[in-house]
């Protein structure tokens, strides 16, 4: 089997194994519009890559996968640039605030406790809500034929009424929604803060926010989320290379060869699935991650020590 030495990770890996890993995560990325860091980083650590290098190199490969995915979704008309840019600005702002918040939390002590609990509760809540809601919609769709009609007719809730009162109202053509420009900015900031605190890319939080709070159609959510992730990961890759020297380019290259192919297939699968079908699979994944995290919190670890660094 062909092995390759990774100079920054300081270890050797099987080329085909890493290519396969990249393919799997790229597939998920193309289908759901998530970066896949939640899955890739622990897998890389399992194969002997130091945590800091795994997380940083993963960001580098996500740049490739999300470029491939964004391009494919752009051709399908699934990328809302206007919304994406506003969310991105909010995300960058939120990331900067989040870094300061985490400093304060660490100074207060027990920051990890707060982070872990927030993570589990949030993933549990979002996953369960998404799962139940999508299941109900799927049942209803047997009566009403088009899932599009469901996505484009949100209920006139207090939330919708509140959104209409905000200034800077604008129409987002691709998403087919009209709202204040402040909404994506504020929500982007909120996701950025959470992503920075939790040390994740934010795709898992951003997708439900776009679906339920910005009321965007699921297919546009996937494309726009990838567009936003692309820029977030470009920033992370350059920063990690410059400040921590933790980006292993060889590892990232092997991963992205797999993930860019996977992302293309993922986009095709995504195209064939209905919005609610996509949501229900994503909700299952979110719940799976939540259960895994809950188990790791409840079960005694095999080792009390782990190398410092990483997520």
């Amino acid at each position: 089997m062909l092995h390759m030495y990774l100079p920054i990770a300081g270890n050797s890996v099987n080329v085909f194994l890493i290519f396969g890993l990249g393919g799997l995560v790229g597939l998920l990325s193309g289908i759901f519009g998530v970066g896949g860091g939640f899955l890739m980083t622990p897998l890389l650590i399992m194969f002997g890559i130091p945590p800091t290098v795994a997380a940083a190199s993963d960001s580098n490969q996500i740049v490739g996968a999300s470029t491939s995915g964004t391009l494919a979704h752009y051709r399908l008309g699934n990328v809302d640039m206007k919304m994406g840019v506003l969310l991105l600005i909010g995300g960058v702002l939120g990331g900067a605030i989040g870094v300061q918040v985490i400093k304060v939390l660490r100074a207060l002590g027990n920051a990890d406790f707060l982070i872990n609990i927030t993570y589990v509760i949030m993933l549990g809540f979002v996953g369960t809500y998404m799962f139940i809601e999508s299941l109900q919609n799927l049942r209803k769709s047997k009566v009403k034929t088009s899932d599009k009609s469901l996505e484009s007719t949100p209920k006139e809730s207090i939330y919708i009424k509140f959104m209409k009162t905000l200034p800077f109202q604008t129409t987002f053509e691709k998403s087919g929604v009209t709202m204040s420009m402040l909404m994506p900015l504020i929500l982007g900031t909120f996701v950025g803060i959470l992503a920075a605190i939790m040390g994740v890319g934010g795709g898992f939080i951003m997708v439900p926010v776009m679906v339920y709070l910005l009321r965007m159609p699921m297919h546009v959510v996937v494309g726009t989320s990838l567009f936003q992730i692309l820029f977030t990961c470009i920033n992370v890759t350059i920063m990690q290379s410059y400040t921590n020297h933790t980006v292993d380019f060889v590892l990232a290259l092997l991963l992205l060869l797999g993930s860019t192919v996977g992302a293309q297939f993922g986009t095709r699968i995504s195209k064939k699935l209905k919005g609610d079908q996509l949501k229900i699979i994503l909700a299952s994944l979110v719940l799976l991650v939540m259960v895994k995290m809950l188990f790791s919190l409840l079960l005694p670890p095999s080792m009390l020590l782990s190398y410092a660094g990483g997520h």
């Binding site: 300081g10 999300s66 890759t237 020297h245 290259l253 293309q264 986009t267 079960l299 009390l304 190398y307």
Partner: protein, 258 residues
């Protein structure tokens, strides 16, 4: 006065002769002296051999320099949840610690008997040398976890029956060991120790050094990453974007997307 000087020289000569016969300096060979880490490197073998008296045993060790290593420590919070509760630092912990034993000493190690302990070559010997900060009541527990972690990475190895013998003439035998250098072993210089054991005691220790160094593309990339980090980061991003675009175009041409 002259007689006293002569006696002094005689005594000195006797002392040196006795010392040399006791320590019995012996030669050993090892290869390679420099392990080159290139693109397809996936670990290597270090071969050690030499001659020793029939009634002696040989233990081979590879020891890395003492380093400062930082770890996250997990503990129970609120009596239910396991999570990171703090950070610990290990000082003077060798980055690498391999011990290759011949059959006889492997049996001692299996039985963990007094003969084995008196040699002081096992992992236990490191317990008092390593300092754990902040000082903790659980030093033994932390040390055991440290050993587990290092052993899992193959950076700490205790290899039983790792040294073999071949009979030679004139009361001598040849010893051989094939040391497994894992891919994860950090680059640097390592001490190779060949320890001669007589009865239950260490008679002498011979030391040499070997190196692990990057060559070719890994060396080029490491230099770029550490000496021109901004350029390296931008290059990593540009290549990733082009790879993504290339795949996008490739798949479009195949008629998949529209």
């Amino acid at each position: 006065m002259k007689d006293i000087k002569i006696i002094k020289y005689i005594l000195l000569f006797m002392f040196v002769t006795i010392f040399l016969s006791q320590s019995s300096v012996f030669a050993f060979h090892f290869s390679p002296e420099v392990i080159k880490v290139g693109v397809t490197y996936k670990g290597a073998k270090l071969y050690v051999s030499g001659e020793v008296e029939d009634d002696r045993d040989v233990v081979v060790q590879v020891v890395g320099s003492g380093e400062i290593a930082h770890f996250k420590q997990k503990g129970k919070v609120g009596g239910i949840l396991w999570m990171t509760v703090g950070h610990v630092t290990f000082e003077n912990a060798p980055s690498v610690y391999f011990t290759y034993l011949p059959e006889k000493i492997s049996k001692w190690a299996d039985e963990n008997n007094q003969s084995w302990k008196s040699l002081g070559l096992g992992f236990d010997a490191l317990f008092h040398k390593i300092e754990i900060l902040p000082a903790s009541k659980d030093k033994k527990l932390l040390f055991d976890n440290f050993l587990k972690l290092k052993s899992q990475d193959n950076l700490y190895q205790l290899v039983k029956k790792g040294v073999s013998y071949k009979a030679l003439q004139e009361g001598k035998k040849k010893f051989m060991a094939s040391i497994n250098i894992p891919a994860k072993m950090p680059l640097g210089t390592y001490e190779l120790r060949v320890i001669k054991v007589k009865g239950e005691h260490i008679q002498s220790i011979e030391k040499e050094h070997f190196k692990l160094e990057e060559v070719g593309f890994p060396l080029f990339l490491s230099k770029l990453a550490f000496e021109h980090s901004l350029l390296y980061g931008i290059m990593a991003v540009v290549v990733a974007i082009f790879a993504g675009l290339f795949m996008g175009v490739l798949f479009k041409d195949r008629g998949g997307a529209h």
